[in-house]
């Protein structure tokens, strides 16, 4: 997942189980490992029976596609490769002079899921990428191993259990200056996730691109937001909504957040002003 994972918990046993959870998630869902279950599915030319974990993730992904009206769509694997994101990100590693051919637009809803057999039928032009939700999902699974109060932070996607009287203090990094904190939130028994396009950026044939794809255009999203931080009951939901709101922009993104009774967000517009919405109150 190309992220550092920090765990604040009691007991070595919990730490080992949490680490195992991340290791297995990486081996199963990584787009950059040719032997991962996901890439086996993406190469399959016939219906494939997958593991329980994989099938559950695909079912959840379909639910999020419907929840976001297709703004969140895991069928962007081929598009990401066409945009240049064909290997694990590192600054400068994706830069190149020449562009590649655009991918055929794909929809995750075209993937058939057979619940009885755990069988997945994938159209040949659909390449699945679960990067928009799998880190949050893994953090949720790992957090189940926390014995009591504790937190797991995986590259900015975090679950916080308990938190005492005041709750956990979450610092929201300034996307323009990572040494600064632009806002703070107090949370208890909540998850947070942040999406921005300031780090995972690269240049192809002179044009700037980033990793958050707008399925409607099959290009890197253009938006009036610099950064989105979502607070939700689960890190998976926060992860999905953070990317979706980023693509939608401030106005429609705020509407999406406020449709959920238990979700809040802090939006950083391109002019630098933070906007709170949903359950997050200033």
């Amino acid at each position: 997942m190309n992220s550092d994972v920090a765990v604040i918990a009691e007991g070595v046993a919990a730490q080992a189980a949490i680490q195992q959870t991340f290791v297995e998630a990486e081996q199963r869902f990584s787009r950059f490992r040719s032997d991962s279950e996901l890439m086996q599915l993406n190469r399959a030319t016939a219906p494939m029976i997958v593991s329980e974990s994989m099938f559950a993730a695909l079912v959840a992904a379909r639910r999020y596609v419907e929840l976001t009206d297709g703004i969140f769509d895991p069928a962007i694997g081929a598009t990401l490769v066409a945009l240049g994101y064909d290997r694990s990100f590192a600054p400068g590693a994706l830069d190149r002079e020449s562009d590649t051919k655009a991918a055929t637009a794909a929809r995750f809803l075209d993937v058939e899921l057979d619940h009885d057999r755990r069988e997945v039928t994938r159209p040949s032009h659909v390449q699945i990428d679960l990067g928009g939700m799998i880190k949050g999902r893994t953090v949720d699974e790992a957090a189940a191993w926390l014995p009591g109060d504790g937190a797991i932070d995986a590259g900015g996607d975090a679950v916080m259990r308990g938190g005492g009287r005041l709750g956990w203090l979450v610092e929201i990094e300034d996307p323009r200056d990572r040494s600064r904190i632009v806002a703070t939130i107090r949370v208890r028994d909540r998850a947070v996730a942040t999406s921005a396009a300031n780090y995972r950026r690269w240049q192809v044939a002179g044009s700037q691109r980033h990793h958050i794809v707008d399925p409607r255009t099959q290009r890197s999203a253009t938006t009036d937001l610099l950064q989105v931080t979502v607070v939700a009951p689960t890190a998976e939901l926060a992860d999905v909504l953070a990317k979706t709101v980023f693509v939608l922009g401030a106005e429609r993104g705020r509407t999406l957040i406020e449709r959920h009774a238990d979700v809040g967000a802090v939006l950083i517009r391109t002019d630098g002003a933070p906007i709170t919405c949903g359950t997050v109150q200033s």
């Binding site: 974990s53 956990w168 996307p175 600064r180 028994d189 909540r190 300031n198 809040g264 997050v280």
Partner: protein, 134 residues
């Protein structure tokens, strides 16, 4: 032909007489007290200026004077410390039970994992920093 002496004499007497009269007049006026000398001052200058001011005022009264520019202090640029930045409070915090029961699928982990040492949770909860994935 040479001017006769009687003619020259008569001219000289005339010239000298005129000079004496002029000199006498200058001497006379220098001794006259100045009170008798009237100095005419330009009278309407102030009155004219007052008229101009009033006229200017009546003309400009139709248009409101522009407000003076508001001087705003130069905004401070500061780096907010965590305890001075806005604090957003989550409404209705809820206890959320674990959503997923962890199950381990039969996947063999080929490489041994390094041992990780935990720090126990203390009474203070360290801040969590959220940002986009690196």
């Amino acid at each position: 032909m040479k001017t006769p002496a009687n003619v020259v004499g008569r001219r000289l007497r005339r010239y000298l007489g005129a000079l004496l009269a002029a000199g006498f007049g200058v001497t006379w006026w220098s001794f006259v007290p100045p009170v008798a000398a009237a100095v005419i001052r330009p009278a309407p200058a102030i009155a004219m200026a007052r008229e101009l001011v009033e006229l200017h005022w009546s003309q400009t009264a139709m248009e409101p004077a522009p407000p003076p520019p508001i001087k705003r202090p130069k905004p401070h640029v500061h780096r907010p410390k965590p305890d001075t930045t806005p604090v957003f409070v989550i409404a209705d915090p809820l206890l959320v039970p674990p959503l997923v029961t962890p199950t381990l699928d039969p996947i063999v982990v080929p490489d041994p994992q390094p041992e990780v040492v935990l720090e126990p949770v203390g009474d203070d909860f360290p801040p969590i920093r959220t940002r986009s994935s690196r």
